[in-house]
Symmetry: C2
Subunit: 646 residues, 2 copies
């Protein structure tokens, strides 16, 4: 491995192999320059919190660190400074990624302040809100909460119980927590630091319901005391993220001036009459929720970085740690030379690359839709689906992977000084917030069904078969990048799938496509047969929906990987990426091998061979293990794991 002295993609002092640098550039993809710039500028000398801190110490440290990062431009990045400043969503995602390299409480506190609170003011508010609040929000002079979730209503936002009632007599809104279940819960900045909250609730105007809206409510005075009618309380200890002051909020008929409603999508005018630019209440609700999309893109990105940190620590540890002497290895075998250990880490590294390429496409889609230019409603909807799905996939992967890394480091992995347990504990709740993963996957499946119906909707069973037969390799699947390439690959593979090599990309793409198409078609059939008015009837489809959503997301991810390889010019990196892509694809096929066998998409012999091929790919990639984690873009010095410093 030749070492470049200072390739453009390293941070100061970083020693990086040529291959590592090349993989990093490929994985950074269209965002390589911005990420390299951000890495070089990122204040990395105070990345990790002392894990022995008390809750109060952790909160103090995090707030101070947030100010430090914010001063360096890594806080409000991407949030407009005022109404005339254009939004830059990609900058927000890249800044979020950088923050994810350090203490995750700071990351989430930043997300609460700038992404959720600031984001709601930006996206749901109008010029008066922007001019009045954004400067103080971005300067951290005004800390705030995003008070959506209630004790009784987590995922079910449409049925929030908090009320926002217009009072014509005083031209005010009255915010009220009607029931115990209406208590706002798990809210960041609510326990200590927030002095204002964006409160979501049911808007009532002269006895008429207008659905969920959001209003700005001051909650604390300058001394930190609850304002009249507001009751805050502290959730105290949590599974992680100890530096984020999550708490509850209750409102007892709290009045705010009419201007405080974030009324971009609807509110009461000076004449006391409710108006909205979106007439359909359902569409209005989903448009307002659509502002959540950036948060989901960010969480997916942050989960991706967290998984890379875990894999970087465990892989570097496995390259130095020895255990058990063996013939030819008198001082003990290096952990990563054990096949069982390779199987723990290398397929996960391959999947981390795959999800990284998918994340790049997601960030590009976000920049396209929210960057101020033209976009179609279809693009907006697809972005929402992808963001929901990839958030679920990436956070599941992060939690499983960091846990595997923790165990792969044995006792050292359990010590806080090696960072894996803190990372795992902090990232845990990523599976829940910004949308519960199970609920998000159901959203993805519903969106796919909707698309499917738009193509096939009016056809009966016979008509469908005829229609399908007319299309060569007929598919209703929409393609991401690399469309033509994948189409060609699949068309070739379809003819004689079992004769192709196990690492043939066309065969992988064909199987991924078949898995999605067949499961979606059968779900559509079952949906058509089921009685949508019966809970029991729809409930039976639950597991099937989750399968379809995952199959879809795996295909999108594979296609992003293929496009990522196409864009890589360096032949050595490209060869490694091809192996990683095969390892990712075969890992996904192996995980669903039963499905492919049951649906006669692979033979028993070939299914067995897949497992042997995974072992072979692990052996081929083993010599490049260090380069692979260098490609993740996490400098060793940032890992903060004491076992690696010894």
């Amino acid at each position: 491995m030749t070492t470049l002295l200072k390739p453009p993609d390293t941070v100061p002092g970083e020693d990086l192999s040529v291959l590592g640098a090349s993989l990093r550039r490929a994985l950074d993809g269209p965002w390589a320059d911005r990420r390299a710039e951000a890495r070089a500028a990122f204040p990395s000398d105070n990345l990790h919190r002392d894990p022995g801190q008390s809750i109060e110490e952790a909160r103090d440290w995090v707030l101070a660190r947030l100010r430090e990062l914010s001063d360096a431009g890594f806080g409000a990045a991407g949030i407009p400074r005022d109404a005339d400043d254009p939004a830059d969503p990609a900058a927000a995602v890249v800044a979020f990624e950088m923050l994810a390299h350090g203490d995750l409480s700071t990351l989430i506190k930043s997300g609460v302040q700038f992404g959720l609170f600031g984001g709601a003011v930006t996206n749901l508010g109008t010029r008066w809100h922007h001019d009045t609040f954004l400067p103080a929000i971005t300067r951290l002079d005004l800390l705030g909460c995003y008070a959506m979730t209630e004790l009784g209503h987590g995922s079910d936002v449409a049925n929030l119980e908090t009320t926002i009632t217009y009072i014509p007599e005083t031209d005010e809104y009255e915010v009220h927590s009607q029931t115990p279940g209406a208590t706002k819960a798990y809210i960041g900045n609510a326990a200590r630091d927030g002095s204002m909250a964006v409160v979501f609730g049911q808007l009532l105007v002269q006895g008429r319901h207008h659905g969920v809206h959001a209003v700005l409510v001051p909650i604390r005075d300058a001394d930190g005391n609850d304002l009249p009618g507001v009751t805050t309380s502290d959730h105290g200890a949590k599974g992680g993220l100890l530096g984020v002051d999550n708490g509850r909020l209750r409102f007892a008929r709290v009045r705010v001036p009419r201007q405080m409603l974030l009324d971009r999508y609807g509110g009461v005018g000076e004449d006391g009459v409710y108006r909205s630019p979106i007439q359909n209440p359902n569409r209005r609700f989903f448009t307002m929720l659509g502002t959540l999309v950036r948060g989901r893109v960010c969480i997916a990105a942050g989960a991706g970085i967290a998984a890379r940190r875990g894999l970087s620590i465990a892989t570097r540890y496995a390259l130095t740690r020895r255990q058990f002497p063996a013939p030819g290895h008198p001082d003990g075998v290096v952990l990563l030379d054990y096949l069982t250990h390779q199987r723990r880490l290398l397929p996960a590294i391959a999947r981390a690359y795959a999800l990284g390429f998918a994340q790049n496409e997601l960030t590009t889609a976000l920049a396209h839709v929210q960057g101020g230019g033209e976009h179609t409603e279809r693009e907006q909807r697809q972005l929402e689906t992808r963001a929901a799905g990839l958030k679920a996939l990436a956070t599941r992967f992060a939690n499983d992977t960091i846990q595997e890394c923790r165990e792969a480091c044995g006792g050292a992995g359990y010590m806080a000084e090696n960072r894996l347990v803190g990372l795992r504990a902090d990232a845990d709740v990523f599976a829940t917030f910004e949308g519960d993963n199970t609920v998000l996957l159901q959203l993805v499946a519903k969106a796919l069904l909707t698309d499917y119906r738009q193509v096939w909707g009016d056809l009966d069973r016979v008509g469908m078969v005829q229609q399908a037969a007319k299309l060569v390799g007929g598919t209703v699947l929409e393609r991401t990048a690399a469309n033509l390439l994948v189409d060609r690959l699949v068309a070739t593979a379809r003819r004689r799938p079992e004769e192709l090599a196990l690492v043939d990309r066309g065969w992988h793409a064909y199987l991924f496509e078949e898995r999605e198409r067949h499961s979606l078609e059968s779900l559509a059939r079952r949906t058509r047969r089921s009685d949508s008015r019966s809970f029991e009837s729809v409930n039976r489809l639950g597991e099937h929906m989750l399968f379809v959503a995952r199959a879809h997301l795996e295909r999108v991810t594979l296609e992003a990987f293929i496009a990522g390889i196409e864009a890589c010019a360096d032949p050595e990196a490209r060869q490694v990426l091809e192996r990683l892509c095969s390892l990712y694809a075969l890992g996904s096929i192996a995980a669903d091998a039963a499905w492919f066998l049951e649906h006669n998409r692979i033979s028993a012999g070939r299914a067995k061979a897949v497992n042997a091929q995974v072992n072979a790919l692990c052996a081929e990639l083993r010599p490049s293990a260090l380069d692979l984690v260098e490609g993740f873009g996490v400098p060793q010095a940032w890992l903060g794991a004491s076992a690696l410093d010894a």
Copy 2:
């Protein structure tokens, strides 16, 4: 559900359904009376630690709580008071199970003090050690460490670097940490409370190596200062178990009198000559390590209780929590009515029952082998294999399950007040200590190969086939309880497996047996073909060995479940147990469906039907969900989860 006022298996104040009480008795099995007694006597008013405590506060709380539990008879249970008091291993396991219902730091601190430190003195020491130290150990007047693991040597105990050198001039042993890697690491009681340690190291007598032995070394004076030559240090924050003071120990030529060597299996006599009752050094080493078996049985038991606690909390929460209105459910659907939610919890409940029955058999085997009566070497070896394997299976299950429970409770699951995150963090390291799970499963596979060779060893390939053909349904698998019953079931199923009902127990037993037999036979063939002198050749078998070990443990577990049902007299409970057993069996078959398809043991149609049957069983068991968790024997009042008290 009729409610008994005070059935014999409840704790005071507990409200238990008839079915719940009956399931509890069945699951408690042969240990029902002892467990019921222990539950009734267990001091349960101070079970859980305040999760907001600092590390020092946690350590203080845990030590005080340990004294409280010890005074109530739940500490040194099963440890002989002196050399004349017989050991009662089952009492130790049952007491450990009770402790596992509360703070797990207290559990592990108890395990370190009584199981490991006290256990080493008991099992590796002789009368002088027992008389001199056990009274103070059991009274908690002498706290100690079990200093086996070194920084450089976790699983590889045979190659520890600490030396114990006999000094004839002064009739002493000199204990020395030769290298940085020889530092004792992750040792409980080492950071603060321990004043003595059982130190494992290489025994050297007049220049001759005698392998690993253990010696008692005082480490701190009465004021808590390190004794001369001893350096202790503190691991500080960990992933959990904050109340256990894990630390490092280094020794710089520390001298102790000759008597301090725990010399039951070897040591220097008054004449300065080394003697051992076991001549073969390898056998001596494994005999000394064999004393670890009780720790593994206890950890498996503790993991079982931890999983039950998690499932109790998540199931009770899912029975009250509602989300999303649906047709016929205007106030929202109860979480456990969603099929997707049933699939998260009910198969795990079934598996918890299965592992509980396997644990009962393991405890019985421990009591048989270590209870002071007669036992064969074969029984001893089988106990060691089972303990290693079930420890790996139960701890993996506990971590996966508690995590699933945490996520199934959403945001509430992440709050420390609902106990799931603390439970998860504390139980995490169960996968590592008392033997890394991957290493333990490899031990199981090696033991199975050894047994296999004893039967088939001298036969070549052709001879094996002939030999196999001679046995009707020829199997080399050894049976647990219910031998004849399972034999009969399998023999019937073997004739026409695909015609049987999906819930036919014979079909399950047949598939479990085939999975183990076939994978073990093919592993034996591959082993015979591989070059045992080549690391690379043996290394290739790694994943195959893990599969064989799991297949074996699943079969043992299924057979324990079958025996447990046979022993249950109550017809209603029996019917529920039959369904649970089917759900466990089909879950295990579904997880390996690809293997069964690849090896032509099931058809594609049947594999699909398995998944539908799992859904059907979930629906059948759903009405009994509360009874199922009542059967776990974890009283609601002990759960300490605030969301359940609301």
